[in-house]
Amino acid sequence: MTVEATKYVDLGRSAGSAATALRRALIHVAIFVTIITVWEYASHVGHLNPLILPAPSNVAQAMYELYFVTGTIYRHFFVTMYEAVAGFFIGGVIGLSLAVGAALNQTFRRYIAPYAVVFNVTPAIAVTPIIIAWFGFGWSSKIALAALIVFFPVFVNTLSGFLRVNPDAEEMFRSLGASKMRTFFKLMVPDAAPIIMAGFKVGMTGALIGAIVAEFAAASEGIGFLMQRFSFHLDISSSIAVLLSMSIMGLILFTLMEALDATLIFWKRDSRLPAISQKRARRFRKQMTALAAQ
């Protein structure tokens, strides 16, 4: 059920010389250019129906208009981004708090577990109509659906992260006579952090899905609403342009999460260790001299 913490390997990237890297980059470009060219060519000779699949140049044109001529995209883009991020925080805080409670209290865990299971097997997206009935057509229903989708991965990962804390380390803390409080903050939290973070990363993607799906169902603004308006008018070029904007939004949110992950869970990334090690050394020496000066 848990989403495993990232293995911290760069997929598709491997060690190699600069020449290899350059060659790989060129191959990527070549493949992309070939596909686009073939697609463009097929559209022009009439193999593809532009109403179904418009040529890449049409999509580019639509994209250009959305961003630089009419500028319609920005408002919708930020509305959806706001809904997704707000839902992420709300769902994340609730999921995290309940999981901490369940991790620390066995009774609470026992009684909350069945609900968590039912919750998990119910497709969250199917709740959309009810959520709209409850929260209305505005932002709040989008935020609510996003939060609902974020909740589960955060809850499950946080709980299992805490329940799977290294038993050897736990015994070591016990042998040192550590209090519950100190064990929680100095062992459980950092030890579970990679798995918790993985839950938040999945949650962030889910938040975006939740916000967009709720916009599909009923909305007057947002990127999902925009997409629907274009496709109702069979303006597939603009629809694809909006879709690409959703990818951009997804990439922005994902990159933010990755950066946060790299900062918080620094010890899983060998390349960051030397710099942090030096920083810690400086801090330690400063503490020593500060105390020595007193």
Partner: protein, 266 residues
């Protein structure tokens, strides 16, 4: 080199002069009806002595150590440290586990300071001592390295420094160097002896290796499995400090044969 034997009489005086810091009487641990991890172990450990526990896998060595450390309760019997019944972990008893169990997010010195931090406030003196201990275990220049930047042997050294930082003088070591290669292990053992002699600690040391058990110890507790029992306590009468070529002497190999005989008879 000929082994220097302490005379029987001298050894007896030594032991009598030192009080027992650890006393176990018919210590028994059952995990279930059928799993008897340790049965009726009776033993005593004099202050400042080095005692090895040797025996095959599953004979209850770790279980015994964890009971002494106050980490798990026993089923029956009595167990006392410095005359007080063991009920919970004590500050004068420290344990080092088979795995280094360092915290990956802390530098070496921050790991060594963990016991201090868990006990209360960290002072300048604590920091100084942590650095000194890292130097003592041979980790100059690695005080601020993260565990992932250290080799397995170096991680065990950090773990040893952390144990010493607790200030405990009864040290329970559960196969501390079991995961290391032969050369590193030999070197670590010699350093360990030097360190514990320096602080006058009492040591309970678990190992699978008979020669290692004898080389390090004043007494070897030989244990046998199913159910876990303390079969015999063998005295090791060689004087200290010991040199590594002790293990090639006839006297040494006699003791190896004796221990092997006890283990083989089961």
């Amino acid at each position: 080199m000929a082994a220097v034997l302490k005379s029987e009489a001298r050894a007896a005086v030594d032991a009598a002069a030192r009080p027992n810091v650890l006393e176990g009487e018919r210590v028994t641990k059952r995990f279930s009806e059928t799993v008897v991890a340790l049965e009726d172990a009776t033993f005593s450990v004099p202050e400042g002595s080095f005692v090895s526990l040797v025996g095959p896998s599953g004979c209850g060595k770790s279980t015994l150590l964890r009971m002494v450390a106050g980490l798990i309760p026993m089923t029956s019997g009595t167990l006392a440290v410095r005359g007080e019944e063991v009920k919970a972990p004590r500050t004068d008893v420290g344990m080092m586990f088979q795995k280094a169990t360092l915290l990956d997010w802390r530098t070496a010195v921050e790991n060594v300071l963990l016991p201090t931090e868990l006990a209360g406030r960290t002072t300048d003196a604590d920091r100084k001592r942590a650095i000194e201990l890292l130097h003592l275990v041979g980790l100059e220049d690695f005080e601020f390295a993260f565990p992932r930047q250290l080799s397995g042997g170096m991680q065990q050294r950090v773990s040893l420094a952390r144990l010493l930082q607790t200030g405990a003088d009864i040290l329970l070591l559960d196969e501390p160097f079991g995961a290391l290669d032969e050369f590193t292990r030999e070197r670590m053992n010699i350093e360990l002896l030097r360190i514990v002699d320096g602080i006058g600690a009492t040591v309970l040391f678990v190992t699978h290796n008979i020669a290692e058990a004898i080389f390090l110890a004043d007494q070897v507790m030989v244990m046998t499995p199913r159910p876990g029992r303390l079969a015999k306590v063998v005295d090791v009468p060689f004087a200290r400090p010991r040199e590594i070529d002790l293990i090639t002497t006839a006297e040494f190999n006699e003791i190896v044969a004796e221990v092997r005989g006890i283990l083989g008879g089961h």
